[in-house]
Amino acid sequence: MLHIAKGRGLARIFSRRFATAQDRDDFRLQEYSQKYLGYRKAAFTEKLELIDSSKMAAVPIYRVTDGLGNFIDESQDPNFGKEKSVRIYETMTQLNIMDRILYDSQRQGRISFYMTNFGEEGNHVGSAAALESQDLVYGQYREVGVLMWRGFPLEQFMHQCYGNSMDIGKGKQMPVHYGSKEHNFVTISSPLTTQLPQAVGSAYAFKRQPNNDRVVCVYFGDGAASEGDAHAAFNFAATLDCPIIFFCRNNGYAISTPTSEQYAGDGIAGKGPGYGLHTIRVDGNDLFAVYNATREARRVALTNKAVIIEAMTYRLGHHSTSDDSTAYRSAEEVQTWGDKDHPIERFKSYLLRKGWWSDEREKEWQKEVRTKVLKAFGDAEKTKLAHYHELFEGVYDELPIILKKQRAELDEHLAEYGDRYPIDRCLKKD
């Protein structure tokens, strides 16, 4: 009941319902809990204390095998079986070999640019193997193992690096900007982190489909996590209950910037709970751990709860062919990491123990892959570029009038000055 009392020209409203301090506290705690704090338990404290996160333990790193590749808790073994295990190993090593050949080809001036995946083969293939083929993947640029696992042909990697007429990306972008509709891998773009809120939108669209069985998995690095788009994406994903996995490859470096200069908090996993994301940090070089974590993340995501996985790993290679990392880190550091924790070595020890691989097979396989890669590479190198008219295609769904005119203008120019242009590198118009 309300009492309205007037005193000295002022109206005061007293409510008997909230007469006591306890009543007032209860009201506010319930409001805060339900409306402000997502139904978390709300409580007052009279102790003045600032939370100093630097004093808190980091989110633990989930692992299944030790540094030598031995299972610690056998119950965590996902039991891949021989076929899957060999396929995993072959994918990781094929990636490694392809990277070495393509890196060298850039040094020789044959392709314009390249980015390797050294040291991250485990987090790529471990997560890819845990996803289903219908799940949509958005990447950053250092996730080639995911695409390779999904079956993107070797030749297609090469064609894209050369941007030739066989490139399904139509030669529009720099090397390593792969994409494949068939393999549910959204085309890479150079701006960092832009893929994160996009991935959330796609996940939301999937959620609305009846009997949805697709999640979105979006990959990004420790540096990319600093961009505003990451904050936007984490918040939207959690607030809108999207079936999404955020997979952060924390490899210690963003070009030359070490993680100690990238953030002061508990890495990227430390941010997760702050946004309301289900969170796990894993040993990114432990393929089994990455697999198990991604599998569980997928299960949770399909209940329309967003998950973040931070995979701890190390970037063994340079950022790209435009980078020489000896300028900011010692060769010794890289060597030590490669010796003490290589994802391929750790998984190989499992294969050897199981008797599913041998040194002999290794020699055979290396030769086989090298031959395959070099053949695909040679073919791609010989393939001509698309006709230069392709440069005008795809701006809109249909060629606008202005581009028809500009294309004609270019043709007119080439008719007179054509010998100054690399027309011979392009296919002729049929």
Partner: protein, 364 residues
């Protein structure tokens, strides 16, 4: 181009020292052509936008509408009733984050669903600039057509409102027309808003639809109630004339119409007024034909003059119509300043500035 009936609300001119609250123009309603549908009802621009979204969502089950405050109806009431009608999974609030809204919208479209993303004020579209310019506009091109976000339409409020100052009055279209791959559209009234918005939503390219906020309530006319679309990249001659061509868009079309009427009355000059409607890709041919007829062109827009879209039109027209021009292409635009508060009447290209531009152009 067939003439539309123009009903001038009144021919009275407007004093510079306008009373607070009085707009700097009179809205000139136009009669919608028969092919848009016989059945009509009086709608203001806000209701027309609401109606367009209602129809879009009714005809496309994948269509969703999202942004800040859209759930309760929107700060300008454009989404009134839509959440109740289509459900909160289709009409919902996002957190306060324009870069998130744009990125999310792109992702929805990439997944094959129709995304109608609302940016509350065009002045706040800039956090979304990277997503719109580097991502949305380039999605199809860079992927060789494997992926695209044609199902994205971004709606944002736009233009002078009388008291909006720097951050509630901007016309940011020129920031986007420089980016190949997106479409930019501005309606001048309720009928155009409905027809053009439906076209944007259904067009297979990402589009930004700027809604002149001052017209939300102030602009009302008989609008066809059915499902109709006005084609993109087609300009409309709103007033026919033979001495001078004015190209404009949004609210400024009505300012230009009033200036044209004044020019007729006071100078005996016959002015043709064209509403560009789609700013990019624009209907260059329509303007060329008009300028070949009149020999004189004025472009008028609220946005600052330098590097405004008027600059592009001027450059293109002098290229195409050099020998037809009797005078330099003139631009009657906002000054090259941020949008001021109390000085708004002096900032805007008013009826008098456009009138003066006509006068100078014919006397060149």
């Amino acid at each position: 181009m067939a003439l539309r009936n123009i009903a001038l609300l009144c021919g009275r001119t407007r004093g510079v020292l306008a009373t607070r609250g009085a707009a700097h123009f009179n809205f000139q309603p136009t009669e919608a052509p028969k092919e848009y549908g016989e059945e009509r009802t009086k709608m203001n621009l806000c209701q027309a936008v609401n109606n367009a979204m209602d129809i879009a969502m009714a005809t496309d089950p994948s269509a969703i509408l999202f942004g800040e405050d859209v759930a309760f109806g929107g700060v300008f009431r454009c989404s009134l009733g839509l959440k109740d009608k289509y459900g909160s999974d289709r009409v919902f609030n996002t957190p306060l984050c324009e870069q998130g809204i744009a990125g999310f919208g792109i992702g929805v479209a990439v997944a094959g669903s129709t995304a109608i993303a609302e940016i509350q004020f065009g002045d706040y579209i800039f956090p979304a600039y990277d997503q719109l310019v580097n991502e949305a506009a380039k999605y199809r091109y860079r992927s060789g057509g494997l992926f695209e976000c044609g199902k994205l339409t971004v709606r944002a409020t736009w233009g002078a409102v009388g008291h909006g100052a720097l951050y509630h009055s901007q016309s940011p279209e020129a920031n986007f027309t420089h980016t190949p791959g997106i479409k930019v559209v501005v309606p001048r009234g309720p009928t155009q808003a409905k027809g053009l918005l439906l076209s944007c939503i259904r067009d297979d390219n990402p589009a930004i639809f700027f809604e002149p906020k001052i017209l939300y309530r102030l602009a009302a006319e008989e609008v066809p109630t059915g499902d109709f679309m006005i084609p993109l990249s087609k300009a409309e001659t709103v007033r026919s004339g033979k001495d001078v061509t004015i190209v404009s868009w949004g609210t400024q079309v009505h300012v230009s119409l009033e200036a044209a009427q004044l020019a007729q009355e006071k100078l005996g000059v016959s002015v043709e007024v064209i509403d560009l409607q789609t700013i990019q890709p624009w209907d260059e041919e329509h303007i060329v034909q008009s300028v070949k007829k009149t020999g004189r062109l004025i472009v008028s827009h609220e946005a600052p003059k330098t590097s405004g879209f008027g600059a592009e039109i001027a450059a293109a027209i002098q290229e195409r119509c050099f020998l037809h021009l009797e005078s330099p292409v003139a631009r009657s635009c906002g000054w090259d300043t941020p949008f001021p508060h109390v000085y708004e009447p002096f900032y805007l290209p008013t009826v008098w500035r456009v009138f003066d531009s006509i006068k100078k152009t014919v006397n060149f």
